[in-house]
Symmetry: C2
Subunit: 256 residues, 2 copies
């Protein structure tokens, strides 16, 4: 199977001029078939504030009422996405900005209200790997914004980590997929404040042991759960790494 | 040659909830290969005002400084474009929202400053008809927002009429193209205030005669110049019609 690299980058790196250009350069340097999935939360919060719309977060997730949905549609699908696309094109990368609605690549349903009403937030139902594969095979590089649609004409705000994971799982049928989750740390650390304690490889039993011992905690737990879920679905390797180290050689590697 | 219909719709129709749904229905009903090019100026002006950014127009064109470029990138590329895409998907149309930067379909250069500095406004250099054709051939319906890029990483605000015309000209190599310019009138009228004076067909010599007689004037002149330019470049027919009458059977028809 041909190799495919899917990289998820957070809002922070794509919203700062210098770090965005570094990302564009690093991403351009990756050989072969590739897909970028990006966030954009900081810009959404900023533009919302300028429009007099208050940002409410619960458990690290954005409450998305109809006004906030308009903001994230503008910011994720327009401002952030199209600027990345234009810059990749300048590097000779044939980027195509997409949301889940474009070519129907990712469908979702509005999250059920349990303890919290997250509003217009989507939980992913399906990723059309065949359409994405067709694009990738003609040399197109999809750049995916964290929005999906419900098939009834409604866009839904969707977690970028989840979208990257679902894209990787769906494409594992066609490719030898490496999924790279980049963030602000070097990878999975024994001591979150000490980069020297990087765990270069981790398997599922070690993950469970380190979690029960309290070594792995907080936001790293769902990140690793996503990683193992991807591996179980056929993704060959998941890498958790710094946003400035997306060459596939650094960070914490989880392999099938 | 296979038939292809390219429809340009102005901002007004896509920015009102009821007229947008009518457009979605009408566009969905058009048989065969098709492309939609849309505006969005009213929303851009509204969002700009909410952000405290003043809209300046000269000769009916938007002065686009860096703040306004951010606004039109959000509004045209995000808000307006993605809502159309999601609604078309709900009608079973496999829409793909694009700017000129996406898949490098339309390149431009920043307009030279002569009498007026329009700012980040693009004059079109090239349309990649082959890439568009590849999409159309797999059943994708491109939905194009009025933004292009300069190949150096910069997005540029671009007139939607021009983008529709350039798209039609480039695709005339591959298809029997019908280009439909929709607007707020029934077509070319002898008396702009009387729909009953519709001119159902017009050729270039009649256009020149009616212009010299003062029957055709104002904004209709550049519209018809665009139309004849498209015909000279191989487009089979151009139709100027109401936004609620885009079935190809109504309005003023200009044929090769």
């Amino acid at each position: 199977m041909d190799k495919l690299t899917i990289i998820k980058v957070g809002g922070k790196i794509v919203e700062d001029e210098d770090s965005l250009q570094q990302l564009i350069n690093d991403f351009s340097a990756i050989d072969g078939r590739k897909i970028l999935v990006h966030g954009g939360g900081r810009s959404a919060t900023k533009i919302a504030a300028e429009l007099g719309i208050e940002t409410k977060m619960v458990n690290g997730r954005r409450i998305t009422d109809s006004d906030m949905l308009r903001v994230v549609t503008m910011v994720y699908g327009g401002l952030v996405n199209k600027n990345i696309v234009a810059r990749l094109q300048a590097c000779g990368i044939n980027a195509l900005g997409m949301t889940g609605a474009d070519m129907n690549i990712m469908r979702s349903h509005k999250r059920e209200v349990k303890d919290v009403d997250y509003g217009f937030v989507g939980d992913v139902d399906a990723c059309d790997a065949q359409m994405l594969s067709r694009l990738v095979e003609v040399g197109v590089v999809p750049v995916i914004a964290p929005l999906t649609h419900d098939g009834n004409g409604n866009l839904l705000n969707t977690n970028a980590d989840t979208m990257a994971g679902e894209t990787a799982k769906a494409l594992a049928k066609y490719y030898d997929v490496t999924l790279i989750y980049s963030f602000e740390k070097k990878g999975v650390l024994r001591d979150a404040d000490d980069d020297a304690t990087l765990i270069p490889h981790i398997n599922e039993s070690e993950f469970h042991r380190l979690t029960s011992e309290g070594v792995i905690q907080g936001g790293m737990i769902p990140k690793l759960e996503n990683a193992f879920s991807a591996i179980h679905a056929g993704v060959k390797r998941v890498i958790i790494t710094l946003a400035t180290a997306i060459d596939g050689q650094q960070g914490t590697i989880i392999e099938a």
